[in-house]
């Protein structure tokens, strides 16, 4: 368990640290590459507002969880480390849930169980176990932030498409000109609102991503 005693000379945004932020956006994206946290991504992306609130909630839980676990990494007994991580994540999620209930009640009702399910979001436990347990707080914070953004941008992109084509709105505001479209026979696509369509959209994002970033394509 002896850690290599490196002298803190590394700049805050060294190349390595920048990589921590950048990787989850593309090469190591939690949703499109690691395919984690899919269930919440499918369920709450019918409206951009929900996707944004969900992203902020996940970001808070992920950053705080990563930093706390990283600070405690030399104190946590190995045998109960998963339980410790779960308790920390669960406590943070309950905090988020309570705050949402108090200040954005309508959004909290729409997100319903999915706020609670952040506890079981594989991305969070995955980062705690794979990164925060073995790294210092600052890199852990960056890692948490990067992964939350990596999760969030996919959510928001999917939500933008679903809200525009499914409800003709963006951020709950009717897009100008929709009245005219409806009058000439355009209809909102109800299928976009259903969960399978989110999966297809995520699939399209993965497709576009892999066609641009050929490293991601498996050799077999």
């Amino acid at each position: 368990m002896a850690e290599v005693a490196t002298v803190e000379t590394e700049p805050l945004f060294s190349k390595k640290n920048r990589q921590l932020l950048k990787d989850p956006l593309d090469d190591q994206n939690p949703i499109t590459v690691q395919v984690l946290g899919i269930c919440s991504a499918l369920a709450i992306t019918t409206q951009v507002k929900n996707a944004v609130v969900m992203t902020i909630s996940v970001m808070f839980v992920m950053i705080a969880g990563n930093v706390i676990v990283s600070l405690l990494r030399n104190k946590i007994p190995d045998r109960i480390r998963i339980i410790v991580q779960l308790v920390i994540v669960a406590a943070l999620v309950i905090l988020v849930d309570q705050v949402l209930k108090a200040f954005v009640y309508d959004v909290s009702k729409q997100l319903s169980v999915f706020v609670g399910l952040i506890i079981t979001n594989c991305i969070i436990m995955g980062r705690l176990e794979a990164f925060a347990l073995a790294n210092k707080p600052w890199p852990s914070l960056l890692d948490g932030f990067g992964n939350a953004i990596g999760y969030g941008w996919v959510l928001v992109v999917v939500a933008v498409v679903r809200e525009i084509f499914g409800s003709g709105k963006i951020f709950g505001i009717v897009i100008p000109g929709m009245d005219w479209l409806y009058s000439v026979g355009y209809m909102n696509n109800n299928m976009i609102i259903l969960p399978p369509m989110a999966l297809i959209l995520v699939g399209i994002i993965i497709w576009i991503q892999r066609s641009k970033n050929t490293q991601l394509i498996e050799s077999h």
């Binding site: 007994p77 905090l95 705050v99 108090a102 009640y105």
Partner: protein
């Protein structure tokens, strides 16, 4: 003394400290945020009452509009007699219903609130109700026109009914069926849930939810039971 991180003692100590700290933080947060959350729940209740008399509003407007439309609040006992000194809005009928089912409260001690509203010159009577669905409680607000028999509007909600099946009672398509239906026929509650609805011949029939029979039956039981209690009071004010 260097602590052995993997000893049983350390593990127990760590767990206990962690639980105490997490517990304390969460309790403090819960207590601090409670007033805001209660306010939201209160506004939502007002919103629901207003919705049953076809007033659609945001949560922020609810308080103001509630004061505008609701002109009188009455509380009844289970014989339909007016109880004095109780505020209808403060009664948590869901809690009382739960207590009755848990035998912590007798059926005689249940209080029945009634909200009397005035909309476009007509008196509308909003009856809150609570019952049991398939997985958990269902509740709703049914409002009657000034003849105290014809339904003005109805809105239902549920805690954990199955999405797509029982949960459909929340949709307007279900609640709107109650509009202009008749509650009492020949002095008895004639409202019932039928397959296919009552059609024109039966102005009390409501089409149940396909695949949500137990929820539908729960709603029916709730509506009948509640309106039975209010009947004696309605007779006195007719």
């Amino acid at each position: 003394m260097a602590l052995d991180k993997n000893s049983n003692g350390y593990t127990f100590g760590f767990s206990i400290a962690m639980v105490v700290i997490v517990g304390a933080v969460l309790s403090i947060a819960a207590i601090q945020l409670k007033p805001f959350q209660d306010e939201n729940v209160k506004m939502e209740k007002m919103q629901n009452i207003l919705y049953s008399i076809s007033v659609v509003c945001s949560r922020e407007e609810a308080s103001e509009l509630f004061d505008k439309y609701v002109v009188e609040q009455v509380v009844l006992n289970n014989k339909g007699e007016v109880l004095e000194g109780v505020k209808a809005f403060d009664i948590d009928i869901q809690k009382q219903y739960k207590e009755v089912r848990a035998k912590a409260r007798t059926a005689e001690a249940v209080e029945y609130p009634l909200f009397i509203c005035e909309k476009e010159g007509e008196r509308v009577y909003v009856v809150p109700m609570v019952g049991t669905g398939l997985w958990g409680p269902v509740w709703g607000f049914v409002s009657l026109k000034s003849d105290l028999n014809t339904v003005f509007g109805a809105t239902f909600d549920h805690k954990t009914e199955t999405p797509g099946l029982g949960a459909e009672i929340k949709e307007d398509a279900f609640g709107d069926q109650f509009k202009n239906d008749v509650i009492y026929t020949d002095g008895e509650v004639s409202m019932k849930i039928l397959k296919g609805g009552g059609g024109k011949e039966d102005p009390s029939g409501i089409d149940g939810i396909t695949g949500g029979t137990i929820t539908s039956v729960g709603v029916e039981e709730m509506v009948i039971r509640s309106f039975k209690v209010y009947k004696p009071y309605f007779e006195t004010i007719k």
